[in-house]
Symmetry: C2
């Protein structure tokens, strides 16, 4: 597996706050690992000028121009219309491989399965990393391994999808590391996987294996000696399209603690449905795990995009009064309070001790 | 799409109560459409002698012997070890296609994608029907179409997987048809799909599309004018491996009513976990849908395998007292009471009237 340190990001024709999601995630979370962005429609500017973050990272007109920035890899940072790889993009991939760059892709079409690209990568001694490829060992039914786990698991859940579950858990994870606690992060979407260098793209996993695929990642972190494992949440238990993925993550993680992420200014979800009452939603998340083991939602992570600092603090205070839980926008104000809440709860709540039988489906 | 009326079932080396699940499902639910079973290790006997049901359906030694029974199709009724198609089995498929039979398969390996088989099918004017193939139009995020639906939907849920959700809903569905109510059945697993002649194998669908894939089937039934749509449940909300599939089905169906299926003699699930308290589980199922719309668990379907009739009735009575809901083993005693409960509830509860906005993810 490659670990890219100098990424050139392909965002041709789409580099903007809303149309280049993967590119923007890399710029936001790994600016020190991005050497430039390719978009001929806004070359000569900077990421900071286009996105409002990313500082002086230059935007260049072509892959060939980008090669002067001495990248080690090309990250495909946009999604093509329709999901298939347009012919024009094949040219970009060829140029990158010929230029000796690894290619990192979050596209549905797996580039490493393309005979031409695979041959070129071999010829140039580089790798193709498809972030959406689900490794064979992740394709398995959950074994319920939380029952013998020593590490503690923390999962973000949300009142909607695309609300800040990755951002929040990354901030708390970083705060734990900063405090010297042996902590790992498990990416479950493209950007999270790119940041960690491994993980599982749960939206590419069939239903029966969703829980098992994330359990496998936690097993690995545990085997490596991590004491705290932070799992990136996906979807929402009350998102009528993606709820299956959320519940699979919840049961594959069987978290010791959860953080609920909410955006106070968002009143409706993707379907025009009013976001559910926070207390009702918290109870529901706890109950879905409490059938198996004790757990709690211990804090609320806020996404206060569009609010002033003052408004964000007011919204947090209101939510604290309603739920009795600490609430803060960790991206804006730091994750110390959320980390305190998680750490304090885990200290009081001993690790789950499972004393029943241990079987799993297919076990003989 | 073919509609097989005279199936020969391949169960070579495995025809038995526990090792030939798909074969047994066909024999149990469609005996009038099965002309014979192929298993050289027990040829000369009958399905009834081997399984305890299926009566005089003969067991023959080979596909060639089976052709004398004038089948129109070969159903592959067993799963190979490891999931891949063994070489020996390729011979069976070739013999069937050469003999002018359609081939129906629930294997993970899609036979129609095999160039040799596809060529032979074309040459002989027959079709290959892979029950596990997910049609392209089912690969979509749920649109929340229940909000404008006129037909009523009924879903089975369960206290565990492999507990009788298909059997129960089929019996209630048949009872509704018997009463002259315009009713459809949606198969969500291999046997259910085979019985109905269409459906979606939800265990082959990636997480984001589970709800959408079943919603698409309901949309089709509604467009055809069915008033009552019975959806085959899968997994269990409290099955830590398969819960994601269950919740996807619940949110894709957004049922008007649910029937909970339970086996009184089963004390633990696949994981050695005690089955949850019925009342707690009923509340949980209702809440997961009540976030969106009113619904209720209206009856308990029992699987009383291993109990005498008297014991089954006693178990039903105990469950009725505990839950306040009618409970009966519909496979053994008929589905009249369950059908009464569903029909009575739907008559009192008007169809959901949604008056909010109508959007869905990706809608512009």
């Amino acid at each position: 597996m490659i670990y890219p340190r100098r990424m050139l990001i392909l965002a041709e024709g789409k580099f903007s706050p809303l149309r280049s999601k993967t590119a923007n995630g890399a710029v936001a979370f790994m600016p020190e690992r991005v050497v430039g962005v390719v978009d001929s429609t806004c070359s000569g500017t900077t990421a900071g000028a286009v996105l409002g973050y990313g500082g002086a990272i230059p935007v260049v007109a072509s892959i060939l121009d980008g090669l002067r920035l001495q990248p080690d890899s090309l990250l495909i940072g946009i999604a093509p219309p329709g999901g298939r790889l347009p012919n024009e993009w094949r040219g970009f991939v060829r140029e990158a491989l010929s230029g000796g760059l690894h290619v990192i892709s979050g596209l549905h079409t797996l580039l490493a399965d393309d005979a031409e690209f695979a041959g070129m990568a071999a010829d140039h001694g580089v790798e193709i990393w498809d972030l959406r490829r689900v490794p064979e060992e992740n394709r398995r039914v959950s074994r319920g391994n939380w029952r013998t786990r020593k590490s503690r698991t923390i999962l973000t859940v949300g009142t909607d999808c695309k609300i800040g579950k990755m951002t929040t858990i990354l901030r708390v994870f970083e705060e734990f590391r900063h405090r010297g606690l042996r902590s790992d992060f498990i990416g479950t979407g493209q950007t999270g996987i790119l940041i960690r260098g491994r993980g599982v793209s749960v939206d590419a996993v069939v239903g029966d294996y969703i829980a098992g695929s994330v359990e496998h990642e936690i097993d690995r972190s545990e085997a490596e000696g991590y004491e705290y494992v932070f799992v990136e949440g996906q979807g929402a238990l009350t998102h009528q399209g993606y709820s299956s993925v959320t519940l699979g993550l919840m049961h594959g993680t069987m978290p010791d603690a959860m953080i609920l992420v909410h955006q106070p200014t968002r009143l409706e979800d993707d379907y025009g449905f009013p976001l559910p009452d926070l207390r009702r939603l918290i109870a529901q998340h706890e109950e879905m795990v409490n059938f198996f083991r004790p757990t709690k939602v211990v804090a609320i992570g806020l996404n206060s995009v569009g609010l002033t600092d003052e408004q964000s603090r007011e919204a947090a205070q209101h939510i604290e009064e309603t739920t009795g839980l600490p609430a803060v926008d960790a991206f804006r104000f730091g994750a110390a309070r959320l980390a305190d809440a998680v750490f304090g709860f885990l200290k009081e709540a001993p690790p789950c001790k499972y004393v029943g039988q241990f079987r799993y489906p297919g076990m003989s």
